[in-house]
């Protein structure tokens, strides 16, 4: 039997590492991957809680989160491709102008 606190600590560590990735890296693709890491950490906490409460609602919520993440990745990567076409770079430091 594993206490749920261990899962919560692991989830918090993974989430914070995703936050560090978003704050530190300049490559837009790696920032995007860090956001996926954060979504995953949150999912892990939700499934752990649902396992303790013996309830399926948490698992169903995680299922919806996975579907929304898939949609988000499709649109986000299309945006990154468009930005690369106009700027020839995916460095977030260079995306400082609002004009296309």
């Amino acid at each position: 039997m594993i206490p749920i606190n261990y899962y919560i600590i692991l989830s918090a560590i993974l989430f914070s590492m995703g936050v560090v990735g978003v704050l530190v890296r300049r490559n837009a693709l790696i920032i995007f991957m860090s956001i996926e890491l954060m979504l995953n950490a949150a999912n892990l906490a939700i499934v752990a809680f649902s396992s303790v409460l013996q309830s399926f609602s948490g698992q169903i919520f995680v299922f919806f989160v996975i579907a929304v993440a898939a949609a988000e990745v499709a649109v986000g990567l299309a945006l990154i491709v468009e930005i690369f076409k106009s700027k020839r770079s995916i460095d977030v430091d260079q995306m400082s102008s609002l004009k296309g």
Binding site: I8, L14, S51, D91
Partner: protein, 173 residues
């Protein structure tokens, strides 16, 4: 220390190490491959927690579809690594300090204030049955039918949006 706890500790070390590898590798392809390993480790955690359907969805959707899409885009753009540029010297230490603070606060709040403080179920009673899948399917198609259908519209809109975004604009003569 039970076998289950040892298993958990090894898996969590793998998850943290792969997340670190994703953060630290210079090459975006290595980052993506580390992230695939991390997602697979989290899928094993879902199996430990008695959620086999979520584990399989994690492997097929996250580690399969999403990361392949990432690898496609990385190789399409040829954006494996960025050229060196000047960075703010205080940015990295500040970010790491703030993230450690965030992790500490999250752990403190979730452990001291969260209601469920029990143990998670043992996997041998949960993974090897179909009752989990049947109950999940019944809940998904009765209680959560409307969100399920809305998800299909969301995926359709995302697909159309991605196609419209990358489409070449036709010149008006």
């Amino acid at each position: 220390m039970t076998l289950e706890l040892i298993f958990f500790l090894v898996l969590s070390l793998t998850a943290i190490a792969t997340a670190l590898g994703m953060l630290l590798s210079r090459n975006a392809i290595y980052s993506a491959l580390f992230l695939v390993l991390n997602f697979t480790t989290v899928a094993v955690f879902y199996l430990l927690l008695g959620a086999p359907f979520i584990a399989m969805a994690q492997v097929t959707v996250y580690a399969g579809a999403i990361m392949v899409l990432f690898l496609f885009v990385i190789m399409l753009l040829g954006a494996e690594s960025l050229p060196k540029a000047e960075v703010l010297p205080w940015q990295k230490p500040l970010a790491i300090t703030l993230a450690v603070l965030l992790a500490g606060e999250a752990v403190f709040l979730l452990i001291t204030r969260a209601r469920p403080t029990g143990n998670v179920v043992s996997p041998d009673v949960a993974v090897n049955t179909v009752t989990n899948l049947r109950a999940l399917g019944e809940a998904l198609f009765s209680q959560y039918l409307l969100p399920f259908e809305v998800t299909s519209i969301l995926l359709l809109v995302a697909m159309v949006g991605a196609i419209v975004l990358v489409r070449k604009e036709k010149r008006v003569p």
